[in-house]
Symmetry: C2
Subunit: 385 residues, 2 copies
C-alpha cells in the first residue's frame, strides 16, 4: 500500500490587504453623520448587535456567524450620547493610524484617547473596558478585523519550518532561525509567503512539544510547518493559520493535550469563538483536523500509567458536574462535535475520569512522538474531524 501523504491543496481565496478599504468606510460613515447634522437630523450609527441572541452556527459554512440584528446608536439621546462620542473619537484615531501606517495596541488606543473634555470634569474614557467594545463595534459595523484598522492584538506563538516569509523589506526562511523560530507578530495582514516547501501545518499547543519536534527534525523529515500556539491561540496565530489554509492551501492538523482545555483550543482554531463570531470567516479554519491526544491513544499506546485525573466533580456525584467534567459536557453539545468520533472521545474521558498530556508520550521515549506517534497517525489519516 502506498504511503498516504497529506498534500498541499489548491488555494481557496486570495487575500490582499488594502488599507484604502478601511479609510473609505471611515469616510463614508463620517460623511453621512455630517450630512445628517447639516440637514438638522439626529445622526446615528447602525451597529450589529452583540451577544448570544445574534449568533448562530451556519451548517453550510460550518462557522459560528453573526446574525443581522442591528442596534441604533443616536447622538441626541442621553443614553447613547457618550458612546456616540466615543465611537467618533476611535474612528478618528483609526483614520490617523491607517493613514500614517502606524499600529497601536488596545491599551495604547485607550490611553491615547483618554482626556478630560475641556470645560468639564468628564473624561472621554474612564477605563479600557469602555474603549475595547467601541473597537469591536467598528469591526462589526465595517466587517473588518481590528488588525486591518491597525489595532494590534496581544502576540504569542512562533513558527518553524521551510517557508519563506516576507515582512516589509525582510525576507527569510523560517527553518533557518536556529532552535528559536520566528516570533509571530500581533498583526499578520501584511505578511507574504513567496515560497512554501511544506505539505501541511502542524499546530502544537505547548512550546515544550514544539521544541521536541524541532529537536527531532520532524519539520524536515515530515515536510511540515510547526506552529506553536503556547496555550490558547492568539488572534495573530489564528489569522496566520486561516491565511495559510485558504490562501496557500496548507492542510491544518492540530495537536493538543487530551483534555477539555486542549480540545477547546482546537475548537477555537476550527470554528471561532462565540465572542468573536462576527470574525469567524477571517479567523476560523473549519477544515482543520485533530491528531491527538485522544482517549483512544491511552489504550493504543499503553499510556495508562501517565494519565492524570480530571479536575472537578463528575456529573453523577453530589455537587457535580464541575471543573473538567462540566467543560466536557459543554463540549459534547458543540455543533461541530456532533459526530461519533468526538462523542466517543468525550464519553471516554467522562467514563475514565482522566486526561492525557502531549508530553506524556515521553514515557515511551523522547523521539517516539516525532518518529512514530505523529507520522503513523497523520499518514494513516487517523485524524478526528
Amino acid at each position: 500500500m502506498p504511503k498516504r501523504k497529506i498534500q498541499r491543496e489548491r488555494p481557496k481565496e486570495k487575500f490582499s490587504y488594502d488599507p484604502r478599504k478601511v479609510l473609505k468606510m471611515l469616510d463614508e460613515h463620517a460623511r453621512r453623520i455630517l450630512e445628517d447634522i447639516k440637514a438638522g437630523k439626529n445622526p446615528h450609527f447602525d451597529i450589529p448587535m452583540r451577544g448570544l441572541s445574534n449568533v448562530y452556527f451556519d451548517e453550510k459554512s460550518r462557522l459560528i456567524k453573526m446574525g443581522d440584528k442591528l442596534s441604533r446608536r443616536y447622538f441626541l439621546n442621553v443614553a447613547h450620547a457618550r458612546k456616540f462620542m466615543q465611537t467618533l473619537l476611535i474612528m478618528a484615531y483609526v483614520k490617523r493610524l491607517v493613514s500614517e501606517g502606524k499600529h497601536a495596541s488596545l491599551r495604547e488606543a485607550y490611553y491615547a484617547n483618554k482626556h478630560t473634555i475641556p470645560g468639564t470634569r468628564e473624561n472621554t474614557f474612564e477605563d479600557q473596558s469602555e474603549s475595547d467594545p467601541i473597537i469591536e463595534d467598528l469591526e462589526r459595523m465595517f466587517g473588518v478585523l481590528r488588525e486591518e484598522m491597525h489595532i494590534t492584538a496581544d502576540r504569542r506563538g512562533y513558527i518553524y519550518g521551510d517557508i519563506v516569509i516576507r515582512d516589509g523589506e525582510d525576507e527569510f526562511n523560517a527553518s533557518r532561525l536556529g532552535s528559536g523560530g520566528w516570533a509571530v507578530p500581533g498583526t499578520v495582514e501584511h505578511i507574504q509567503f513567496p515560497e512554501i516547501n511544506v505539505d501541511y501545518a502542524l499546530v502544537v499547543e505547548t512550546a515544550a512539544m514544539a521544541d521536541r519536534l524541532i529537536e527531532e527534525k520532524f519539520p524536515k523529515r515530515e515536510n511540515a510547518l510547526i506552529i506553536a500556539t503556547q496555550g490558547q491561540a492568539s488572534r495573530g496565530v489564528r489569522r496566520l493559520i486561516h491565511r495559510l489554509h485558504y490562501e496557500e492551501g496548507l492542510p491544518i492538523i492540530v495537536f493538543t493535550d487530551g483534555d477539555p482545555y486542549g480540545w477547546y483550543i482546537y475548537s477555537t482554531i476550527k470554528q471561532g469563538s462565540i465572542n468573536l463570531a462576527y470574525l469567524s470567516d477571517k479567523l476560523a479554519t473549519p477544515e482543520s483536523k485533530f491528531v491527538g491526544m485522544t482517549m483512544d491513544d491511552i489504550k493504543k499506546y499503553g499510556l495508562e500509567n501517565v494519565t492524570e485525573k480530571l479536575k472537578g466533580i463528575p456529573p453523577n456525584k453530589k455537587g457535580g458536574p464541575t471543573g473538567d467534567y462540566k467543560r466536557i459536557l459543554e463540549e459534547m453539545n458543540y455543533p461541530w462535535f456532533q459526530n461519533k468520533e468526538w462523542q466517543r472521545q468525550l464519553q471516554l474521558a467522562l467514563k475514565w475520569g482522566v486526561r492525557i498530556e502531549q508530553q506524556a508520550l515521553a514515557n515511551k521515549s523522547l523521539e517516539f512522538v516525532a518518529k512514530e506517534y505523529l507520522p503513523e497517525k497523520i499518514n494513516n489519516g487517523d485524524l478526528l474531524p
Copy 2:
C-alpha cells in the same frame, strides 16, 4: 555639551559551553557511590540545603547567593531511600540526554522517568513535584544550570536588533526578521554572537511596548537591541541577558511598568530570585540599570490623568497592608533597593497610591516613548541603580 551615549563595554567573562563538564561530574559522583557500595559502606550524596536559611545577599558581588550548609542523603535510611533512588534515576537520565545531545523539558523528564518498580506497586515518581526538586538538587550539587544538563526551561520572549546570532548551522541577523523578531529558545547555552552592532540592550516588559519601539525604528535609530520579556523574564531570557552583558559587554537597561510587579521583574533580572539563589552568578546581572516607569515620570511628563490606582489596602488602613501596598513594602527592604533613588520611588508610590503603565505614554503620542522619553532619559543617564 556632547550627547552622552551608552557604549558597549569590554567583556568580563568568556563562557564556553562544554557538555563534557557535566558528564565528568555525573561520572565522578556515580563512581563514588559504586565504591561505597563495594566497600560495604552506606552510600550518600551531599546536597547544598535549600530555603531561606541557606541564602544570603553578598554585598561584594551584589548577588543573592547560596550558603554552604549541606544536607546528607543516605541510601540506607527509610526517610532518604526514595529520594536517593530518584536522584540516581535522574542522573542516569541526564547522562543519556547530554551524551545523545538531546534536550527534555521538566515535564518530559518527569514522564520519562515515571514507571512502576517491577514486582511492587510503587511508582518511581508520583508527580512532577517529586522530580523538579531532584533536578534542582543536581543543579546545586554540581553548580551547573539545568540547561547545561539539557533540561530546558519554559520559553517566552523575543529579541529584535542588529546582532548576528549563530544557533547550530544557522546564522541570521535579528533585525532582518520583519516585525516578528527572533523567538528566544528555552536553552541559550549553545547560542553564539558572531557580530554585535548595538550599543546596549533594552529589556522591555510588555510585547506591546517592544512592538511599539520596533515600529518606531527605535532599535536602528538608537543602536539598541530590544529584548521583550512578555511578563516575568523566563530563564532563557535572563541567561541571554547575562551572557550579552558579561561575554559581550552590552550595558543592560530595563523598562517596565511603574508598579510593584514591574519593579519585581527588574529585581529578578538584576539580582536573581531567592528560589534560584544558587544560580545567581549565571542568571543575574547586577549591573543592570532601570529607565522607567518611575513615579517621578508622572509629574515630569504630565501623566496624572493616565495613572491607575494601586490594588489592595494601604498600610495605615484597617486590614492593611495587602496587595500592591504589601509588595511595595517588601521591595523597600530588598538590599539592592537600599539607596535613596529607589526608596524615593517606592515612598511616592505608597503616598500617591498609584501605578503607571509603559503604554500610558501613548497619551502623549505614539512616538513619544521612542523619540523623546527613552532617548532623553538614557542619553542623560537618568537611570535608577
